[in-house]
């Protein structure tokens, strides 16, 4: 079996830099990480110097993702030798137990970390993810709420809570979590778009108007967000089709929907320049938009 360096013709420095880039960008491409790093550790461990410890951590998480318990165990042993009392290493040990589905022991491991240091957020979050892995969604939601009461600033946790609420179809509370995220990251178009989708799913005239506004905001922040463009079209058409609106609102929304349809067509034209398959999809989009046209009555 050819090694990574032979297949892609890269030196060990390039492999190390690639690993660093994946680490900083939070990429979860676990199989690639395992391939590259396994070779790096086996062949070039001495040349890496102190980088090797953070690579061990990165590889260990990737190995747990790929069910490579052998690799994970070696990494854990090395880290334990180097950093004997470390809470960070203990947390990795707990994660390994979680991967082996030994949830009780993992829970005990995290509890011991919390006894030493009650402010350790990582251990608390791992405990919540144990509940999620066991499928106990309501318990996970309850624990996450308590966690967030203590640590209101944890954005990752707010996002996780919104996902859990969406799974439970509690859209009102999911919207609350997304609002927190929107406040802390006002320029992130993805949060705006997700919020708009939740509002659209909730339904009702007010929520539809809100969702149309937030789809527009997401588009304003990023002109190329196709999902937001479709969302804008859908929400505007929906409002215009609703019997409860007065004529002025209906007219405005038809205008918005028409504009959105126009932009969608433009985008598909740009995409479809040239190839035959794409010409078909442009036609399909046009027909779809035609079928969803609202009549002004």
């Amino acid at each position: 079996m050819a090694s990574v360096s032979e297949m892609y013709d890269v030196t060990w420095e390039e492999m190390r830099d690639k690993l660093r880039k994946w680490r900083e960008d939070n990429h979860r491409n676990s199989e690639q990480i395992v391939d590259v790093a396994e070779e790096l550790i086996n062949e070039h461990a001495s040349k890496l110097g102190d980088d090797i410890w953070i690579i061990y951590e990165q590889v260990m998480i990737a190995a747990l993702d790929c069910s490579r318990d052998d690799l994970a165990w070696t990494c854990l042993q090395e880290l334990k030798k180097q950093f004997p009392g470390s809470q960070r290493v203990k947390r990795l040990g707990g994660m390994r137990l979680e991967a082996l589905e030994k949830y009780e022991e993992a829970g005990k491991q995290y509890d011991s970390i919390l006894q030493e240091d009650p402010t350790n957020t990582a251990a608390r979050k791992r405990k919540i993810s144990i509940l999620k892995a066991q499928g106990k969604n309501t318990d996970a939601i309850r624990e996450l709420n308590e966690y967030l009461e203590l640590f209101v600033g944890d954005q990752e946790a707010w996002h996780e809570l919104s996902d859990l609420y969406i799974n439970e179809h509690d859209y009102g509370k999911a919207a609350f979590c997304l609002e927190e995220l929107m406040m802390t990251n006002p320029h992130n178009h993805l949060y705006c778009e997700q919020y708009a989708e939740v509002k659209y799913t909730q339904g009702g005239l007010e929520n539809l108007e809100l969702s149309r506004k937030y789809f527009a905001q997401a588009l304003k922040l990023n002109n190329r967000n196709m999902r937001a463009l479709f969302g804008l079209y859908m929400s505007a058409s929906h409002i215009a089709a609703s019997p409860k609106v007065n004529a002025a609102v209906k007219k405005a929304n038809v205008k918005y929907a028409a504009w959105a349809a126009n932009q969608i067509n433009r985008a598909y034209q740009l995409a479809g320049r040239g190839t035959k398959e794409n010409k078909c999809s442009v036609k399909a989009v046009e027909e779809m938009l035609e079928s969803m046209q609202i009549t002004m009555s």
Binding site: T119, L150, F151, P186, Q217, N223, R224, Q263
Partner: protein, 255 residues
């Protein structure tokens, strides 16, 4: 009146001026590493972490509240500021002013600060004064009055000598303050060799009681939040968006 220029032995430059610079610099570096070794871990309680995050959230609500719908903003403002059970009204943290005598960790911190900073300065200043005494080291480039003479010319008993000519002790003190920027260059910001910063901290240290601040910080946030209004940033977002075509450049690359 023309000043008679004194010609100093160039050996002074070689054997006095430069050694004092080196000594000051090396002592500073050693002080930095010693302060790192003696540093005690600052343990934060859960309550402190939690409170600081709540304050941040309230601040964000004030600043970016205009991006969420009006109803949501009001809901959060009500949660914080409500008369009976708003968070800022209800929560009173126990305030223990950390007096140096009763709080052992503050006492040890103060002692460490003194040992690492003030003591070496006094010792080395005295040693330099004793070793390099009896001669003029350098001349400061600006004229000084006679009142500075006993301070700057320790050990030189000449009544008629200009006050600009100073002894080695004053050259040492000049170095201590002058090498601060060198320390920032070599040891990075926030280093332990920065004496003047330590002295400033000691002067304002008594006023810097963090726990008492929590209640005051809550009160200040309450007031600030009361004053904020909700100006929805999305009032006319559709009009702004549709005023021009979408910029789809570069969205698709040619296959």
């Amino acid at each position: 009146m023309a000043e008679p220029e004194l010609l100093l032995d160039s050996n002074i430059r070689l054997w006095v001026v430069l050694p004092i610079v080196f000594i000051t610099f090396l002592v500073g570096v050693i002080r930095h590493y010693v302060s790192i070794l003696l540093q005690s871990d600052k343990k934060l309680t859960l309550e402190q972490v939690s409170d600081s995050q709540v304050l941040i959230r309230s601040r964000i609500l004030r600043e970016n509240g205009k991006y969420i719908p009006k109803q949501s903003f009001l809901m959060r403002k009500f949660y914080f500021n409500n008369q009976e059970d708003g968070f800022f009204k209800k929560t009173k943290r126990k305030v223990v002013p950390p007096s140096p005598m009763t709080d052992p960790s503050m006492l040890t911190d103060m002692m460490k600060g003194n040992v690492t900073n003030v003591l070496p300065m006094i010792l080395i200043g005295g040693w330099i004064n004793w070793t390099f005494s009896g001669f003029v080291t350098t001349k400061v480039p600006f004229p000084l009055t006679l009142r500075f003479k006993p301070m700057l010319q320790q050990g030189i008993e000449l009544l008629s000598l200009d006050a600009s000519w100073v002894s080695s002790a004053s050259w040492y003190f000049l170095n201590v303050f002058g090498l601060r920027s060198m320390y920032s260059l070599i040891l990075g910001q926030d280093n332990g060799a920065d004496q003047s910063r330590i002295m400033q901290e000691q002067m304002s240290g008594a006023a810097m009681a963090m726990p008492a601040d929590t209640n005051k910080a809550f009160k200040a946030e309450w007031e600030a939040l009361e004053l904020t209004d909700h100006q929805w940033a999305l009032e006319s977002v559709e009009e702004e968006l549709m005023s021009r075509e979408l910029d789809l450049d570069g969205m698709f690359t040619a296959e």
